[in-house]
Every structure is written in C-alpha cells, then in structure tokens.
C-alpha cells in the first residue's frame, strides 16, 4: 500500500495491533500512525474494526497484542485510566452521556490529565447550546447537543490526542457543519485528532490523511490531496 510521506516522529504509532472481545478476534494486526497536529480518519464498513481500534488504543477491550505507542509510551498492557492520563481522550460512538448526571456534571466529570485544556468558557463559545442547558439531565439533550457535550467534556481535560468515533452519526446537516467547524478549529489550536467516520464527505473537509480498514486490518492509506484520485477504490471499499 502507498503510505503517504510522513514528516516528523508520530505522536501515535500503532503496529501489529490485535484485539479480542472475549473469544472473538476482532483486530488482526492494525498498522497506522498519527502525527502531532494532524487529523487522521479511519474509514471502513461497519464491522471493519474502526471502533475496536479506538477502544484498543484506549485499553477498553479484553485482550490486546502488538504495539500502540503514544509519545513513546507503550499503551498495550496499561489499564485505560493510565492511558487516559498520558493525554488521550475518547468520545465514544454511543456518546456515553450519563443519565444520572446533569449537563454540568457530565461536562465537569473527566478529570484533568494535563495542563492546557480548554476553559469552560471556551467550550461554551464552541457550543453555546450547552450553557443554556447546564442543569438539564444529560440524556434530555437532543442528539446534537449530546454530541457537543461528549466532545466538549474531553476538551477540558488537557488531553492532546482526541479520538472521535463517528461524531456526525444520526445528526442533522446543520449540526454536522457545526461539528466540522469545531474539529477544524481544534486542529488550528494544535489538537491531534483521530476520527472514525462513515461519512467521508464530512471527513474530507477536515482530514489530512485516511486509512481504510477491512476485516480488522488497515488495507489502504492516502492523503487528503489524493482523495479524488482514490474515489473509485473508496467506493469499492465502502460499498457506497
């Protein structure tokens, strides 16, 4: 496969990563990397292993093999709370808003893992809706607002690698645009983002590079500039 030219040492280097949920072997050796300040997108059909890849990096699957180094720290073998403290944060696909917590409690829940996170005021500038609904129950928010809350709460923590799992899934176009602007803004502020998306039209507005996954492996990679040239292949891969 044609690996795009990489400059500088990667922030996240994944090599031969394998993962299991109980007895089922989901990842069969995943290889990719993310450099500081990049937005990298994992594409692939349902069940290709994209979500499992994010969860494996975060230490949330049963068994892992292989290597996933963040800033030179090996994360395979660490528990997920230790991995989080290295500066990695996950916004899960199901959003993971806690129903027994208010919006404010949800927002303030993740502990600070490093200095340099956004202030609550900066988060409200990104997502003004949250400010008006601080005392609501977390799950009483609309789907879009829940997604903003799920992204907002990990911006506070000082984590520098944000892993966003299908942040646009099931949302209205106007909200998708807002999330797209947010991701572009975060990139300008120096955050590194690993994105999982089905919607590559959305991804193409923010991503620097793509990896395509199938059957628990990375099978292709290309830069955003080569997206048009790879459109044909991509349609085959994704079956769209």
């Amino acid at each position: 496969m044609a690996e795009p030219q990489t400059a500088g040492a990667p922030l996240l280097e994944v090599k031969g990563l394998q993962a299991w949920y109980g007895e089922s072997h989901i990842l069969h050796g995943v290889d990719f990397n993310v450099r500081k300040g990049e937005v990298v997108t994992l594409l692939g059909r349902n069940g290709a292993g994209k979500t499992t890849t994010l969860k494996s990096i975060m230490g949330m699957v049963g068994k892992r093999r292989g290597s996933a180094e963040y800033e030179g720290h090996q994360t395979v073998g660490l528990t997920s709370d230790r991995i989080a403290r290295l500066g990695i944060a996950l916004c899960p696909e199901e959003r993971g808003i806690f129903s027994s917590l208010s919006v404010e409690e949800n927002l303030m829940l993740p502990p600070r893992v490093a200095p340099g996170g956004l202030t609550v005021e900066q988060i409200f500038e990104l997502f003004p809706n949250l400010k008006e609904r601080l005392n609501s129950q977390g799950t009483k928010l609309s789907g879009g607002e829940q997604q903003m809350l799920a992204i907002g709460r990990i911006l506070r923590t000082g984590a520098r690698l944000l892993m966003l799992d299908e942040p646009t899934e099931g949302l209205a176009p106007v909200i998708i645009d807002q999330i797209g602007h947010t991701i572009a803004g975060l990139k300008r502020q120096g955050f590194t983002i690993l994105l999982v998306e089905q919607n590559f039209r959305f991804a193409s507005k923010v991503a620097d590079r793509y990896y395509v996954m199938e059957h628990g492996r990375v099978i292709d990679a290309f830069a955003n500039a080569d997206l048009e040239a790879n459109m044909g292949k991509l349609h085959d891969y994704l079956g769209v």
């Binding site: 230490g59 997920s80 989080a84 996950l90 129903s99 027994s100 829940l109 993740p110």
Partner: protein, 292 residues
C-alpha cells in the same frame, strides 16, 4: 372503631422509627453497593452484627466506650470490607448476580457461625452511653433520649450520604461509574479503587447501624440474620440502587410496621412482605427504581 390509646400509638410509632432507622441505614448501604459492584450483598446482616461486636470488643478489651466505637467500628469494619472486596468479590466482576449472592451468603453463614460458636445465641449486654440515658416527658409519652438520638443520627447520616452521592463531584464519579464504569475509567479515573472504597463505605454504614443497635437490642450473633430479611424486602420495595428511595422506604416501612403493631398486631411481622408482594405485582422495579 379502634380503641387505641395515644400513648400506645406513639410508642409504637417510635419503635417503628427506630426500626426504620436501621432499615434505612442498611438498605442504603445495600443500594450503594449494588449500584457500584452489581452485587447483592447478603453478608450485610452479618457485617452489621460484626459492627456491634466490634463495639463490644472495643469496650471489653481496649476500654473504649460508645463514642469511640461509633467512629472506630465503622472504620475497622470498612477496612475489613475492603479486604473482602480486594481478595474475593473483586474476582466476580462481570459475572452473573448469582455468584456474588452465593459468595456473600456463604460469608454471612461463616461469620454468623463463628460468632455463634464463641458467643452462643444469647445477647451480650452493651450499656447506653452515660450522656444519653434518661428520657424526656413529651406529655403524651416518654421519649428515651437514646432512641431519639438513634433516629436523629441515622437520619443525619442517611441525608449526608444522599448529599455526598447526589450533589458532590465524588458522587458524580460514583453515579457515572454505576452507569458506565469502563468509560469513566477511560477518562482517567481509577474505578477499581472507587469500587473497593464503595464497598468499604457500605460495610461501614452497616457497622455504624450495628453500633447504634447494640444498646437497644444487645449484641447477638444472629441480630443481623433476623434483620436482613426485612431489609431485603425494604430494598425490593424501594427499588434496587435508588439512594433516596432506600432512605424513604426504610423509614416509611418502619412506621408502617409500628402502626400495624397498634392496629393489627398479628400482621406486624408480615406486613412488609405483603407490601413487597404488592409492589412487585404493580411496579416490579420498586417504588423509586428506574427500569433499565
């Protein structure tokens, strides 16, 4: 239609409030433990009994009285609970409820058996502390100071626990981890340590109830076994895992029991179970329970 003296009515209501205090403290601990560990802690009654024995030993061996016991017994038993969690309960994480139930039931039988072996079934006396002897004449009844203390103190502890869980940052971690422990852990929180501390806290509440009960009911190896069956009924009625639900239901059912003793004494031991059956028929998740 009923020929009841106000004195009998109020004294039974007081007994009901006292019992309700113990129901509330114990079912609160069970609710907290169930929420975090997903374990139905059948050892709760035995740990309550051990809390009372702890007070007894502190007095007879170390010469430390009631007020010391009120602080030390929950701490000692809480530490013992954390030991149980780390060495045993911890291994059952992710398994069916049944395993936790069997393990804690077995532990309860072992603890009760051990204490029965050394102390028999009759009670050991434990005196009411000097400061709380005597009674107030309220006009319509005499209110023993110690009983008033038990009700007020239990209520204060229950409300403080509710506040800590529902209104503080630590409580937010606890509630979040009850819903989705793996995500809370992925935010960088040491959830296993929280689980150990939670179990220790629940056991500490049981031990506190044991110390409060010691001057009223004496210290007996079976004191917890008798009580815990009713407490489980209280938990079922209130709804598993609801904090305020377990407090309100605990006190309310104590009062219902007391009233039944006045109006229809024959049913006083069964009324809680009748209510439990009715609640299960009408609202299986319990009065305050959230259906999952």
């Amino acid at each position: 239609m009923f020929n009841i003296s106000t004195q009998a009515l109020f004294s039974q209501l007081l007994v009901g409030l006292i019992n309700g205090s113990f129901y509330a403290l114990l079912s609160l601990g069970l609710a907290v433990i169930f929420g975090m560990l997903n374990i139905i802690n059948f050892a709760h009654g035995a740990l309550y009994m051990m809390g009372a024995f702890c007070a007894y030993f502190l007095l007879s061996i170390a010469g430390l009285g009631y007020w010391w016991a009120l602080v030390l017994s929950p701490l000692i038993m809480g530490a013992f609970g954390m030991f149980l969690e780390r060495t045993m309960l911890h291994r059952l994480a992710g398994l069916d409820h049944l395993y936790g139930l069997l393990l804690t039931f077995g532990l309860a039988l072992i603890f009760q058996g051990l204490f029965q072996n050394y102390f028999g079934s009759s009670g050991l006396p434990y005196a009411i502390p000097q400061e709380l002897t005597g009674a107030q004449n309220l006009g319509f009844m005499f209110l023993p100071n110690y009983r008033a203390w038990v009700v007020v103190f239990s209520l204060a502890v229950c409300l403080a626990t509710w506040f800590a869980i529902e209104k503080t940052k630590l409580g937010a971690y606890l509630r979040a981890a009850t819903e989705n422990p793996s995500l809370v852990r992925a935010f960088g929180v040491n959830v296993p340590r929280m689980i150990t501390l939670t179990y220790g806290f629940g056991v500490g509440l049981a031990a506190l109830a044991g110390v409060l009960a010691a001057p009223i009911n004496q210290v007996r190896p079976l004191m917890g076994g008798d009580l815990i069956i009713v407490v489980f009924a209280v938990v079922v009625i209130g709804g598993m895992g609801s904090i305020m639900g377990s407090i309100v239901t605990g006190f309310a059912l104590g009062l219902v029991e007391g009233l039944t003793k006045v109006f229809y004494p024959e049913a006083s031991n069964t009324v809680v179970f009748v209510i439990m059956a009715l609640v299960l028929l009408v609202k299986p998740a319990g009065l305050f329970g959230r259906t999952a």
